[in-house]
Subunit: 525 residues, 3 copies
Amino acid sequence: MAKLLALSLFLLLSSCFAIREHQPHQKQQPQQNECQLEQLNALEPDNRIESEGGIIETWNPNNRQFRCAGVALSRCTLQRNSLRRPSYSNAPQEIFIQQGSGYFGMVFPGCPETFEEPQESEQRESRRFRESEQRESRRIRESEQGESRRFRESEQGEGRRFRDSHQKVNRFREGDLIAVPTGTVFWMYNDQDTPVIAVSLIDTGSFQNQLDEMPRRFYLAGNQEQEFLQYQQQQVRGRGEQRRGREQQENEGGNIFSGFKRDFLEDALNVKRHIVEKLQGRNEDQEKGAIVKVEGGLSIMSPPERQQRHPSRQDEEDEDEEDEWRPHHQKSRRERERHNGLAETICTARLHQNMVSSSSPDIYNPQAGRIKTITSFDLPALRWLRLSAEHGTLHRNAMFVPHYNLNANSIILALNGRARLQVVNCNGNTVFDEELEAGRALIVPQNFAVAAKSVSDRFTYVSFKTNDNAAIARLAGTQSTLSGMPVDVLAATFNMDRNEARQLKNNNLFKFLVPPRESERRAAA
Amino acid sequence: MAKLLALSLFLLLSSCFAIREHQPHQKQQPQQNECQLEQLNALEPDNRIESEGGIIETWNPNNRQFRCAGVALSRCTLQRNSLRRPSYSNAPQEIFIQQGSGYFGMVFPGCPETFEEPQESEQRESRRFRESEQRESRRIRESEQGESRRFRESEQGEGRRFRDSHQKVNRFREGDLIAVPTGTVFWMYNDQDTPVIAVSLIDTGSFQNQLDEMPRRFYLAGNQEQEFLQYQQQQVRGRGEQRRGREQQENEGGNIFSGFKRDFLEDALNVKRHIVEKLQGRNEDQEKGAIVKVEGGLSIMSPPERQQRHPSRQDEEDEDEEDEWRPHHQKSRRERERHNGLAETICTARLHQNMVSSSSPDIYNPQAGRIKTITSFDLPALRWLRLSAEHGTLHRNAMFVPHYNLNANSIILALNGRARLQVVNCNGNTVFDEELEAGRALIVPQNFAVAAKSVSDRFTYVSFKTNDNAAIARLAGTQSTLSGMPVDVLAATFNMDRNEARQLKNNNLFKFLVPPRESERRAAA
Amino acid sequence: MAKLLALSLFLLLSSCFAIREHQPHQKQQPQQNECQLEQLNALEPDNRIESEGGIIETWNPNNRQFRCAGVALSRCTLQRNSLRRPSYSNAPQEIFIQQGSGYFGMVFPGCPETFEEPQESEQRESRRFRESEQRESRRIRESEQGESRRFRESEQGEGRRFRDSHQKVNRFREGDLIAVPTGTVFWMYNDQDTPVIAVSLIDTGSFQNQLDEMPRRFYLAGNQEQEFLQYQQQQVRGRGEQRRGREQQENEGGNIFSGFKRDFLEDALNVKRHIVEKLQGRNEDQEKGAIVKVEGGLSIMSPPERQQRHPSRQDEEDEDEEDEWRPHHQKSRRERERHNGLAETICTARLHQNMVSSSSPDIYNPQAGRIKTITSFDLPALRWLRLSAEHGTLHRNAMFVPHYNLNANSIILALNGRARLQVVNCNGNTVFDEELEAGRALIVPQNFAVAAKSVSDRFTYVSFKTNDNAAIARLAGTQSTLSGMPVDVLAATFNMDRNEARQLKNNNLFKFLVPPRESERRAAA
């Protein structure tokens, strides 16, 4: 009885939760005619911003294909010991880790600071940490006498240990998909030698974005331009509108603190002017940018992870590695709840999942390749984002059968190798028939038919989809659209005899991936 | 206990289902000013495409009224033994069967092929079926030796019986409303002498449509232009944009297979080139079009139905005829589940319901007429589409009281007879005051007030509404907006005395349909 | 067991309800570039329409800031004994009662008329009521002989008492927030000496609005122009489109009845022509307008309320005053249901709640001020509207810390006093740094950072938010975005040492409102 009640309450909570959290995340329609595309192009980033600790590359969001899909794409490369400074965006965001590993954090308003430094275990702290501690202790405190009563705990005794606490920090690795909700502050950090390459899709057409379709990054630090500002200016200039004078612009910084007057921030934060100036990035070298080098590296508090020091072995692990150090009976229960989405709240929600670990592809054919999809069934947080993703590998001459996305646009980014892709629009016209090579993105609008054939030994791609449960309809193979229709209907439809219609329905026994013909395999060998 | 658990699970499933399936189906807003309409027009189709087996007529979706409502309308006439070839659209679709009966099918990706030909009952098959079987057996099989190992079952032994299986096929009849989800392949077939007339509303303003507002049909066969292409071209030309050369266009076919290269399709389907060429509609007569004649007719596997051979008697049946051959206790349970929406999954969902059967109108007055509405409470599949519909009949001089649609646009198509309609906008201006005659459509935007009075003995119409639970507010009659207000408020509002205000509230005792005055009835007799 | 079943059914109902009612209420995106704002302005109403009983002022909805936020703002002042005539709008609406008290009513189609005059208690009626009764009885009834059978109850015997019944009437008072769903008829009446000032936000960007973004009022009475018509005309003229001739316009009235032909209304309402003419406002003085004086006042049936005659004492009451006269055990149960939203149906839903009563602010600091928010958790009806609101008071020199709205645009209207506001966009530019004075509105788009400091003894404001669960992220203070990040990440982000980063995280112990510095408090004293 008690269990039933608990279940019922779960149901209640889950439906309330669902109602509150899921609804504001749908896809908006592009402007008129934006999708009457007679030719698609494989697109490269057309801008590159160098920072102290890495590079940010952006695809032009004003390109008609991106406008049709209502998304913006960018790629960030982080060097060792580099930090992507915290920022938030006006739309939900999916980040795919193409390479490398490190830490990321998000800050959810109202959620508790659940990572706390221990009180009586200083001895276990790293030496570096204590050294920096001592350096700071030597600094002269500059607290005003007049403010002391107001902020009675503002600076604790010098001798006492400061115990930091903050919201959850997560470890990411190659192949992870990270879900970043609208307006949520996000930072990431590379603590390894391998540069981190992170591809980010911002779904500006989402209903969570109540601004216009322009992607925006709101940085909390630095005085660099946000990476999409240039495109905004282009567009506004194009419309002949006036902007404020350049002088004024240049005097102003690039982060959301720099727009506030100093006295406001001094009052709001109760800190000295020199700290406010650092907050505003006022005297900072403009070249520093959105990615900064951290000398000596960051010391980040995170639970002990097995194999953390052996990134090369991580690819073989299960994607739920974060659970592995839990007792097994606990895990299995949490697992269950996780996968029906009941136990998730925004504060404890899982925010990333691996897409390329070898153990559990969704579609697999040893001669053709593999495909893994992450929908909101795998990663419930995607429900808030209304986004999903797919990662695929195709062997040489293997094909992904002709298919279309029922309920989503698809943004395909080639990661390795090359494949020939063909895309067909509603008029039956070929709108793309080229090789897509690593580093280029192709947008396949909803309902457009697409097929791919690898011309490399391994063609790998990631495809972002603008629906949290994106579905495809296959136009060939077992259980495809063709095989769902009566053979007589097919025969009449295609003006063929029943035997030919049967061949259409039955000759290809593969569902998604078709291995190369034997002759091709032999030629390749 | 077990039952409670089952109920709870149902709840869980239904809410998950709801969350996944219902949300992406809302209505988007038209462009700026699109609805500042000072004059409405009763619209006729302005284009007509003849096919081998029928006609497709379209209303211009670029008409401002259609742009305001965010919908596209078309009408298809199917001759006997004609098949509307399979196609899918970029938005949810409601099809109303104005006349005739036949079969339709949809293909849902991932759903099983649940209609299977029996193995040991060949003797019960029709003669025609076996004859065509023999013809095919006589054909020379053309399987390549090199491919034999790869597709070991591609062609079964000639002597063996090929057992077809496919997804559900449904029978439709006059007055049915069919719900076609976005991107879902749909075909229909007329097996009777009466031509089938099917009116289709595509809700391009739906959130399921992530492309622009242009309606699109993606045909799986033929080399005809999709019926809305012409409007697309107009619009693009109007904006002075360049299109690809005509030559190239003409070389390409009109279906989604024709845009793929032949080798891609040969590989994907493992069929010979001549089959691919038929798939692509390459050598097909362009005049064949989207509706093809089937010589000798199609043999479609479907459960034995009572009165199937007596279409004239079907109108008298209950709309749930498909349940009638089930044991009664089963039916009533299924009925219950059906109407609370619990037992529906996309694979087994009911996709059509009759609107004109005489047994159960929602509003009925023997002297005035009848109205039947189909919302998502009647046909849960409409929740995915976010559409509903209403069918009405008005006797001569009977009125539908002034009312407005609270939460939907309404697209009224006159089916028979004529009625005088008046429509008023927010400025109090008459934007329509004309007779609407059979075959013409009138768009009544959300919140615009409308009233109708029949000038024929029987005026019948169907009204498509852009909300799955469209609601109206009546401005006259019992329980109307006027009677919901205190009599003193009415008196002050309209500057009249209490007695007059009471007359406003109470004089008309009818709620929806007002019968003609006695004098009018006598004159008509 | 029975209880569990009941709970389960509640769950079912609530989720169905949720699905039906909540979804069509989301926010649409503004046109391209509409939100690339480099300068915000504090806006005043730019138009003023005088009526017999009050004034309606409107802010220009074509202003770019309003277009970005997708809302329209207006303010209505009602004199004593004045009635705002019934109207409905094409989008959900929040009304804030800045001053005064009175009655309001809404009419929901299909809901029963639950307020009924008693049959045997005439003696308790007021004298005025009976007098008007007698006057009316003296009037000659004009019922047509021919119609008598058709409307057998249209006029009851003269001697018999007419018993009025109508839908719920509510009492509002200063500080109330009223939720008006799309298309719902709304009227309000001032029965006190203090003029009522009501500020109304129409969320034209809502998905409930299927027309274009122009706000529209559909009046049920009068022949005045609806208050937003002028802006519509401007815009249409701007595009060079033709409108119908002026003559025709002037002949037509201004309410939705005036657009129907007289004979239609006579038939639909079964009343005489002179009543129809009053309905259509034909011979009415155009100056009367949307707010009419009621001579002698309205007698409105409503349950006896404590302190109803002492409006000055009402501000001290709890906002749930309407429950106070219920037995306590009932109330607490109703309270529970209310707050989980289960027991609400559209017919009995609570539609208003007080925001300024002193007993329960959400954020409170006696030295700094107070803030009260009303979300759909407080007032479940807001779920249908997808809107919420916030009311705040700041003491002199107290601050609201820098913060941003995660998921909503915010429309701030200063009610009393002045405060300095700063707003920052994604480029780090100050887009507003001015004093906002009483009567002016400022739009703070989603994700833009904002902070405020009062320059008056009491600065009060109301802020409308375009999300029913609008959330803010604070950029300073305890549990802010800064304190959610590890101190090392902060130090690296802002290029400071750990000690400075700690100060950023910890120096301000206040969460939302920061009291003035002691020096400022002393200076003010």
